[in-house]
């Protein structure tokens, strides 16, 4: 794919990723966030954090399907940063609308409530990922260390899913779909590793 097409695609993808945020803003101004607007904002930002994490984690397995999909990697950073963006909005709903900026109450919550501890863990991972998302960071850290650090994306996604499971009531299974998607994305990596190992062994034997 040519660079020009990629640039155009990015120009389209960027505003598209902002649509959920735009819808929230629009509904906020027109007072159409529903009977429980705080819950609507919280759930929407939470869901989109998970969705963007899952989409960014799907880049690698999808790209491996064909050499013609290599260009997808050029979108991964943007998608990951949008996960951080929605995750930060999600965090802000808690900081503002639930805790009213009461620092002591928030620290107590983090210590006492496992689902909040898990949510904060996930967001902290996203913060580290976002902070080291520049080309300068890769150069500074070195490719290997940077890659290892950026495996935190898995921690963030798993923490996000656990955060969701710990919040729903017993007997409710609504998080199963995102859980299944994450499981497939992680298993695809394991399958690829096994395949690669076998291929390398074959190459070694042939040599």
């Amino acid at each position: 794919m040519s660079n020009r097409v990629l640039v155009i695609l990015k120009f389209v993808a960027f505003p598209a990723c902002l649509i959920p945020f735009g819808v929230l803003i629009y509904e906020g101004f027109t007072n159409t966030l529903g009977p429980d607007p705080v819950a609507t904002i919280t759930h929407t930002t939470g869901f989109w954090t998970l969705y963007f994490l899952l989409i960014s984690l799907s880049i690698t397995p999808v790209r491996r399907l064909s050499s013609r999909l290599v260009w997808l990697i050029r979108f991964r950073r943007m998608l990951g940063l949008f996960a951080f963006f929605y995750g930060t909005l999600h965090l802000m709903t808690w900081v503002w609308l639930y805790s009213n900026f009461d620092v002591h109450a928030m620290l107590r919550d983090i210590a006492k409530r496992p689902f909040i501890t898990m949510g904060m863990t996930g967001w902290t991972c996203l913060l580290l990922l976002a902070a080291t998302s520049t080309a300068w960071s890769i150069r500074k850290l070195g490719g290997k260390r940077w890659t290892r650090l950026h495996r935190l994306a898995y921690v963030a996604a798993i923490a996000g899913i656990i955060h969701y499971w710990w919040l729903v009531k017993p007997g409710v299974h609504t998080p199963w779909k995102v859980t299944a998607i994450l499981a497939v994305l992680l298993l695809a990596r394991v399958a690829w590793q096994i395949k690669e190992a076998a291929r390398k062994r074959k190459v070694a034997v042939a040599a």
Partner: protein, 323 residues
């Protein structure tokens, strides 16, 4: 306090119960196969969801001394589209879309257990036991949101007198309808159906405990627990069992659905208490339904503000351990 009806809903917009029932019959009859009927009904709901929501009949009511003063009722729209009624799905708007499937006429409530003799009450007879009162109550959900609802009903104690319980009756158990063909949510949620709730006898006899048939001066919409339910304003919403078919007077504390699902989170008493949070989230504040998002946060009050009336029921009890 008089019941204020929201000005945007005129009575002409409200579909009468018989029209509503007949519409469904007509729909079912017109369709060649059941699946087609289902599809058409769903389409109809998408086209005019209000029709499904407003399947109610006007009731004759009298004022009540037990009505909460100085509060503004939540809109009819919010009360009837933001519901937790897991038999119809776990989404807040699921009950308003699915609850039309429940047939509430004819309806009987069975009474047995520690009573002089077993009885069955027809819904029309139940509504005539005592004059129907307008009672505005605050409603606090365990999920930390709250509403103000103008219910219609009479004190459950009036009904209990008719049941003639024996002195051996220490608790009352309420069982909701369990009919998966009318309640699609039953298969989606891993709870032990039928929905069961219970009260100690003195709680059940308390005048605030409302045997409820309507809201906003009309019969209950299905998604709010038609045709008859319990309302306990000082307890979390899930204690107020909906669409009752069976009431039992028992010697021992009965099983309650959420307590069975997670005993550490949901106790038998479930009194509203901002200082005790057994669920993962805090109970200190509540989100007022219908308020803009920057003004929705409100402190939660012990017994949901009904402490003057009900605190005596729990005198000497540790509210932290008896959650």
């Amino acid at each position: 306090m008089l019941i204020r009806k929201p000005s945007d809903i005129s009575s002409s917009q409200i579909t009468s119960k018989s029209d509503y029932m007949n519409r469904r019959k007509f729909m079912a009859g017109a369709a060649a196969v059941g699946a087609a009927a289902l599809g058409a009904d769903l389409l109809k709901n998408v086209a005019s969801p209000r029709e499904a929501v407003h399947a109610t009949t006007k009731l004759t009511t009298v004022p009540s001394q037990y009505s909460t003063k100085g509060v503004t009722p939540t809109s009819f729209e919010d009360i009837t589209t933001y519901n937790n009624f897991y038999e119809f799905g776990t989404g807040k708007s699921d009950p308003s879309h699915n609850a039309w499937r429940l047939k509430t006429n004819p309806w009987t409530v069975k009474v047995d257990g520690e009573v002089k003799s077993k009885k069955e009450f027809d819904i029309d007879a139940l509504m005539k036991i005592h004059p129907l009162e307008d009672r505005i109550y605050r409603h606090r959900c365990v999920e930390a949101w709250s509403m103000v609802i103008p219910w219609v009903g009479y004190s459950l104690s009036e009904f209990i007198k008719q049941c003639e319980p024996l002195s051996s009756a220490k608790y009352v158990q309420f069982l909701s309808i369990d009919n998966p063909s009318e309640e699609p949510g039953i298969f989606q949620v891993n709870l032990d159906w039928p929905y069961s709730e219970g009260l100690r006898m003195d709680e059940a006899m308390h005048p605030l405990t409302l045997f409820t048939f309507g809201l906003y001066g009309q019969t209950l919409p299905n998604q709010d627990g038609a045709p008859v339910r319990i309302v306990l304003p000082w307890k979390y919403g899930y204690k107020s069992a909906k669409s009752l078919v069976h009431i039992r007077f028992v010697k021992h504390q009965p099983r309650t659905t959420w307590n069975e699902a997670s005993p550490s989170m949901y106790g038998f008493y479930s009194n509203v208490n901002p200082d005790v949070d057994t669920v993962p989230w805090s109970q200190k504040y509540e989100r007022v339904i219908g308020a803009p998002f920057w003004k929705a946060r409100q402190p939660t009050v012990l017994f949901n503000g009904y402490g003057d009336q009900v605190a005596d029921l729990y005198k000497g009890m540790n509210l932290r351990t008896n959650y």
